[in-house]
């Protein structure tokens, strides 16, 4: 049983790490991929807590829809959090 | 691509319906009467707008003999998949990473889009190769351990075993 506990604690730490990553990361695209990781881990945790309905909802929403909405926003605005840095690297980041 | 007659369209619709119905049966994995009836209805409704996605050729080309080739293809593919994984395992575990990567190209004789996709997916899942692009009939393959740059040789090494079965199927 201690084995399962270690695995669960690993997952919980992974979730905290993903949350910190997606808040601390300056590049917004990486932060969005980080939220995808949060939703992945959260879905496994919901299944561990015996809530398959919620796990299914989280999986369905978090895997593609949240990502596409954030990415559309990034496409329409700026990709990097510091906008000065963003302007410098813009030409080779938006076109192929 | 040939244009379809009215009979061809109806046949295509039935093909899509039967396929979707089989997928439904696998989803529910039961044979209760209510489930089967509902599945027939639902797959009928879904097949109405989506049947044009499934096939582009007349269905009279479909011959039962080709099912044997499909099964043969599956076995060849499974064997290649296992070999691929042992290959990846060898490369990943060995401490010196024995790789010599590069992107090679070759031409295929396949015509339909679906066959090209099946071949590309099979190439991706077989030893050391990853399809990067298809432009018309030219495949561009990332090869983890390039043995030759000659297109004929590449084709013989990478895709020959799949293509000759796929040519019989399609």
């Amino acid at each position: 049983m201690i084995y399962y506990l270690i695995l669960i604690i690993f997952l919980l730490l992974l979730m905290i790490g993903a949350a910190i990553y997606s808040i601390a990361q300056k590049d917004l695209l990486y932060a969005v991929i980080g939220t995808g990781l949060i939703s992945l881990v959260l879905s496994i945790l919901f299944l561990l807590l015996q809530a398959p309905d919620v796990a299914l909802t989280e999986a369905a929403i978090g895997v593609a829809l949240t990502t596409i909405v954030f990415i559309i926003t990034i496409r329409n605005t700026v990709r990097h959090e510091d906008e000065e840095k963003n302007r410098r690297t813009l030409p080779n980041q938006t076109t192929k | 691509m040939e244009t379809l007659s009215a009979g061809g369209k109806i046949a295509r619709f039935f093909f899509a319906w039967v396929l979707l119905f089989l997928i439904w049966l696998m989803f529910t994995s039961t044979l209760a009467l209510q489930e089967v009836l509902t599945g027939a209805g639902v797959s009928f409704i879904i097949a109405l707008p989506t049947n044009r996605f499934f096939t582009e050729v007349q269905l009279y080309r479909f011959k039962p003999l080709r099912l044997f080739y499909v099964i043969e293809y599956l076995f060849v593919f499974l064997w290649a998949l296992i070999v691929a994984n042992l290959d990846v395992a060898r490369r990943v575990i060995s401490p010196k990473l024995p790789i010599n990567p590069g992107i090679v190209s070759f031409k295929t004789k396949l015509t339909s889009d679906f066959a090209k996709m099946v071949l590309a997916n099979s190439i991706t899942l077989t030893p050391g190769t990853l399809s990067v692009d298809i432009i018309d009939d030219t495949y561009y393959i990332h090869w983890i351990d390039v043995k030759s740059l000659d297109p004929e040789q590449c084709k013989k090494d990478i895709a020959e075993q799949f293509e000759k079965i796929l040519l019989k199927i399609f």
Binding site: M1, I2, M15, I16, S22, I23, L42, L45, I61, T77 | -
Partner: protein, 137 residues
């Protein structure tokens, strides 16, 4: 096969601690960050933390999901006693129903917030809230 997951007392609160930490991280992002998209990401992280907290409050040790599937009934007759016996080993369904709707609503909120962000960017040509006046301290 029987797997009881939480026999140890120490670890039991790890779900609470994790969700509180995630909530705090999300709130920090929403309060401190200057990029508006980061604020929305912070809100979505906050949302995840709250959902995890609610679900873990409803958890029951060695319980199972509140679904009377054929695999769980195993051909038992459907009498009141059997149902009561089975229902004692089930986790709380009410937080699950709450969170189920909360996730979908959370997505709607995120979408509207992001469309507001796009609109603000079109007007101000920046996402920095220090430059968009009268919105934040």
């Amino acid at each position: 096969m029987d797997f009881r997951l939480f026999d140890l007392k120490i670890v039991e609160y790890s779900f609470f601690i994790t969700s509180v930490v995630v909530i705090l991280i999300g709130l920090y992002g929403a309060l401190v960050k200057r990029s508006l998209i980061k604020v929305v990401i912070g809100l979505s992280v906050f949302d995840s933390g709250v959902n995890l907290l609610l679900i873990s409050v409803g958890y029951l040790t060695s319980g199972t999901a509140p679904i009377y599937s054929p695999g769980l009934l195993k051909g038992m007759p459907l009498t009141l006693e059997n149902i009561k016996k089975l229902s004692e080993g089930m986790v709380d369904p009410v937080p699950q129903a709450l969170v189920l709707t909360a996730i979908v609503i959370g997505f709607g909120v995120t979408a509207v917030a992001l469309s507001l962000v796009i609109r603000l960017y079109r007007h101000h040509k920046t996402l920095n809230i220090d430059e968009i006046k009268n919105l934040k301290w």
